[in-house]
């Protein structure tokens, strides 16, 4: 028998229920559209224009993208390389660090655990950029900087090293600072997940032949906290790209010296606000968006639920 009118016909109460459901979702959808969806669409539109923020945009087609991939040597040589280096270390790095710390904390007594969790979590609240004030003192380039004065006292160096303006050290320092402040919401989520694993599972595992803690983690803990791992991964990825301002905050200028700390976000800011080339900046941001999208798809593959 053919189901001629399958889902169209609903009872009045069902329609009303649907409307109520839509009503609940509406505020969020509105906010999301206005503050996220519309700007993304506008950015995509602007990426095909030449816009100097003063005069109205003029259409230039794919010119911005062509320039990006063929002519923007700073992007290709420095920015892309820096961003990848930074992202590869900070992304998985902070993620693994979050997991390891969360796991260690889960083994402790509750009170100690709360205190330590708070200590580990608080840098992420203040944001790496405000912390740059602290780090700028530690890494200050004259002999009064903390790190320099310690190294000088122990005779390891003869002259103070100008950390924040030197090509070699700036990216490394950015990585350290970001790792330090990256134990954020993702960390807490993983901690919660680990704490919520049913203890009986471990017992069952030990009966079935698991010999040590390490196997315990791989075979029981991680599979059971898949959703939290996914959340942590996405937060880590987004966080990595969002904390890009750290290079500018540490070195005091955009672009960073010799572009040593230049990440995609700084590059976008530079083109958009200093060179008045918003169209190109928009194109860069679209590329960044694709980047982040692809990587998070990959994370979904790893941790997403199979149903």
């Amino acid at each position: 028998m053919m189901m001629s009118k399958p889902k169209r016909l609903r009872s009045a109460s069902q329609i009303k229920q649907q409307r109520i459901a839509y009503g609940f979702v509406f505020p969020y959808v509105l906010m999301f559209s206005v503050f996220i969806l519309v700007p993304v669409l506008v950015a995509i539109f602007l990426s095909f224009t030449y816009f100097d923020t003063v005069r109205s945009p003029s259409w230039v087609g794919f010119e911005n993208y062509i320039y990006l991939f063929t002519n923007d040597e700073i992007f290709m040589q420095k920015v892309l390389a820096n961003t990848l280096k930074y992202a590869v270390i900070v992304g998985p790095g902070s993620y693994i660090l979050s997991f390891v710390l969360a796991w260690i904390l889960a083994q402790l007594t509750p009170r100690l655990r709360t205190v330590l969790a708070l200590i580990i979590y608080s840098p992420s609240l203040t944001g790496g950029i405000t912390m740059a004030v602290l780090w700028r003192i530690i890494f200050a380039g004259d002999s009064s900087g903390y790190l320099n004065s310690i190294l000088l006292r122990f005779g390891m160096i003869v002259e103070p090293i100008v950390f924040l303006q030197s090509q070699e050290f700036l990216l490394l320092i950015m990585v350290i600072v970001t790792l330090w402040s990256s134990m954020g919401v993702g960390f807490l989520a993983i901690l919660a997940g680990i704490l919520n694993v049913n203890q009986e599972m471990y017992e069952a595992g030990y009966i079935d032949g698991i010999k040590n803690k390490f196997q315990e983690i791989i075979y029981i803990t991680i599979p059971l906290i898949r959703p939290q791992m996914l959340f942590g991964a996405v937060m880590a990825i987004v966080g990595t790209f969002a904390s890009a301002g750290i290079g500018v905050a540490l070195s005091g200028s955009n672009p960073t010296p010799q572009y040593a700390g230049q990440l995609i976000v700084n590059h976008i800011e530079y083109y958009g606000f200093f060179k008045y080339e918003m169209g190109y900046a928009a194109a860069l941001s679209v590329v960044l968006l694709l980047f982040v999208y692809l990587i998070s798809r990959f994370a979904f593959r790893l941790f997403g639920s199979k149903d």
């Binding site: 030449y50 003063v54 700028r136 380039g141 004259d142 900087g145 030197s166 200028s253 010296p257 200093f274």
Partner: protein, 690 residues
């Protein structure tokens, strides 16, 4: 001295009670001299003591139990209070003597040990400085007496800040006296660190000179009960709650400006804008009838965005000096040459140095007027330079000559290039390029011209002074180093002048300024060129009231208004608010030390600005990168310069084609007019050959 006129009905003896708050000098007392009708009534009135309390106090003048009876005649009596520092004066002079001794001792020790602090080396101090132990102990005893006297001045048991400073100094003196042979190792206790004897005593001395007192009212009364000086807790609590809610509403409610009002946004703090609004209302609006609404600008970035949205003001003032060019070339700003036929046009321009107008010019159009102008001069501690027998350098060669002497004592020469930011702005690099004769761009403005010997010599000097002559590459705070004597000489700007004048009371009188070192030319004159553009004022293009806006700028920039504003700032807000007007005559009338004024004006005769081309930010960036790479990574300057020139030209061409001066193949389509003094002179003399 501040006097209050009081009308007294019946002559006779009265008590005098002041409702005051002395909450600034913690645990210390403050003194005032009382005068009745310009005469001091009795000897105790010379030093009336006001002690510390966090809250308001009713202080009845008296000596504890017996209030003073003060005779007042009928009619008007003038009661006045003036600051009295006499209880501190002997302490002040004694400490000054000890300070001089400590500074001299510290220099002697440095001369003895050189700047290398070798922890493993021992010194027999008594061989070199035989009386040091007795002298240190004597100083400690003097300070102990001062300390005891200070504590006796107040009835509180707790230490005032000055007293604690002196206590630290005493402790350090005794420490050094106990182990004289370790004085070289402990030189930081003597003079360099914050805890050092020199530092603490300097702070104590400047604290003596601070005598703030808030006076709310005073009572002339007989035996009556006065109201309590502080409201009770509940009342205060309620008032604070009310205050919290009121903080959400500005006292001047945000009203959209009327249609006939000129809208001015100023990129300065509220204190400035309030004064400017008042001056505008009292003078400009009264004379011209044009109403003006002056507001604080939240941030300069908002200007660009506001312009896109069409909500920009008519006039923007106090903005960065590069904005008129950047926005003007994109058509957002009014070209002021529109008013060239106005009879006042050349008068307005004549108020400024020619060079000060250069950054505002694009394509022979004038897009802004300078507001404040900066200057770079040499600051030096003449006490230290005299002690080390160093002459004030006139040229960079002189500077390089004194570097070894400075370095031997562990001291440094400060340059703006040593600031801790990694972008070395044009302000820090251009002086060298200009002084050696480089013009940075070629005459067409389409390319840079840095491959010549002048530019290369300039770049070499900029880098060698660090790599060979060991000037410190990064100095976090020249201000601190200058005060502590670590960098007794250096180049800095107007901001440093105000700061040193007002905040560094401990080195008052110990420093002077001199002209910026330069490069000796063939005719034996010294080229001391340096840029100085700081802030500017501009009018937007998309407005109706262009004429009115021009009238306002004319009024604001006029010498009369600038002088009045300068004085108003100083008298209303205090000596920290020095106004560095770009108006030459107005600045010459500024109330600062005459010698300093002469030096600044002379330095300004060397003012030189780089005309702008599209893409000049790239030039600034590349020169900065060259400096970074050579000084920090010891790379080869010529190689870097070659690559940099390619990039600079590339970027300039890119921008030139964006604005229609070149096509995509880098062929020149239109001439680009590099801003030059010629066009400015034309404007200034009202020359009509366009």
């Amino acid at each position: 001295m501040i006097g209050y006129d009081v009308e007294v009905e019946k002559e006779g003896y009265y008590y005098l009670t002041f409702k005051i708050k002395q909450s600034n000098n913690i645990n210390a007392a403050v003194f005032r001299t009382l005068r009745i009708n310009d005469e001091i009534p009795f000897s105790e009135a010379v030093n009336i003591k006001f002690e510390y309390d966090n809250l308001w106090q009713n202080v009845t003048l008296g000596d504890g139990d017996n209030p003073y009876l003060i005779y007042l005649k009928s009619g008007i009596n003038t009661i006045s209070l003036s600051v009295s520092l006499s209880p501190f004066m002997s302490a002040y002079y004694e400490i000054e003597d000890i300070l001089k001794y400590v500074n001299d001792l510290s220099l002697d020790v440095k001369k003895l040990t050189g700047n290398q602090l070798d922890e493993n080396r021992d010194w027999e101090i008594s061989d070199y400085l035989p009386n040091v132990v007795e002298e240190l102990e004597a100083a400690a005893i003097i300070l102990q007496n001062i300390y005891d006297d200070l504590n006796d001045l107040t009835s509180s048991d707790k230490l005032s800040e000055a007293a604690s400073m002196i206590k630290i100094a005493i402790r350090n003196l005794k420490l050094l006296a106990e182990k004289p042979n370790e004085i070289p190792k402990n030189i930081n206790l003597l003079s360099t660190s914050q805890e050092s004897i020199a530092s603490t005593l300097r702070s104590a001395v400047s604290l003596f000179l601070n005598s703030p007192l808030d006076v709310d009212k005073f009572y002339v009364h007989t035996d009556v009960e006065l109201e309590k000086p502080n409201a009770n807790f509940l009342v205060r609590f309620w008032v604070n709650i009310k205050r919290f809610f009121m903080s959400f509403f500005d006292e001047r409610y945000k009203v959209n400006p009327d249609d006939d009002e000129l809208v001015v946004w100023i990129n300065r703090s509220k204190q400035y804008t309030d004064l400017i609004q008042k001056m505008t209302d009292d003078e400009f609006t009264k004379d011209t009838g044009i109403k003006v609404q002056v507001s604080v600008m939240a941030s300069e970035g908002k200007l660009i965005l506001a312009n896109s949205a069409g909500t920009n003001p008519d006039i923007a003032m106090g903005i960065a000096s590069w904005l008129p060019y950047d926005l003007g070339m994109r058509g957002a700003i009014l070209d002021l040459t529109e008013f060239i036929d106005d009879e006042d046009f050349s008068d307005v321009l004549n108020q400024y140095y020619n060079q000060a107008l250069i950054p505002m010019i694009y394509d022979n159009g004038l897009y802004g007027l300078p507001d404040t102008e900066n200057f770079y001069v040499l600051y030096y501690r003449h006490d230290i330079l005299d002690a080390l027998d160093i002459a004030v350098p006139n040229t960079w060669d002189d500077v390089m000559e004194i570097m070894p002497v400075l370095k031997r004592y562990g001291m440094n020469f400060y340059l703006p290039l040593s600031s801790p930011t990694s972008l070395k702005s044009f302000d820090s690099t251009l002086p060298f390029l200009f002084q050696y004769g480089s013009s940075v761009y070629d005459e067409t403005g389409f390319n840079v011209d840095l491959e010549n010997s002048e530019s290369i010599r300039a770049l070499e000097l900029m880098t060698e002074i660090y790599t060979i002559y060991s000037v410190d590459t990064t100095v976090t705070s020249f201000y601190n180093d200058f005060r502590l004597g670590k960098s007794p000489i250096g180049v800095a700007d107007f901001g440093m002048y105000t700061t040193l004048l007002n905040a560094a009371t401990d080195i008052q009188g110990l420093w002077k300024i001199a002209l910026l070192p330069g490069v000796e030319q063939l005719d034996e004159s010294i080229d001391r060129s340096a840029p100085g553009a700081l802030t500017a004022n501009m009018i937007f293009q998309n407005i109706d009231k262009k004429e009115e806006a021009w009238e306002y700028l004319k009024w604001w920039s006029s010498t009369e208004t600038q002088i009045r504003f300068q004085d108003l700032l100083l008298s209303t807000l205090g000596p920290e608010y020095l106004w560095n007007s770009a108006n030459i005559e107005a600045f010459s009338a500024l109330n600062i030390n005459e010698t300093d004024l002469d030096i600044i004006l002379e330095q300004w005769s060397h003012l030189k600005e780089l005309p702008k081309v599209p893409g000049s930010y790239q030039v600034e960036l590349e020169i900065s990168n060259i400096w970074n790479a050579v000084v920090l990574n010891r790379e080869n300057m010529r190689v870097l310069l070659n690559d940099a020139i390619i990039r600079m030209d590339q970027e300039i061409h890119r921008k030139m084609s964006e604005f229609g001066y070149m096509d995509k193949q880098e062929n020149v389509l239109n001439n680009y007019y590099l801003a030059s003094e010629e066009i400015i002179i034309q404007w200034k003399t009202g020359d009509d050959d366009e």
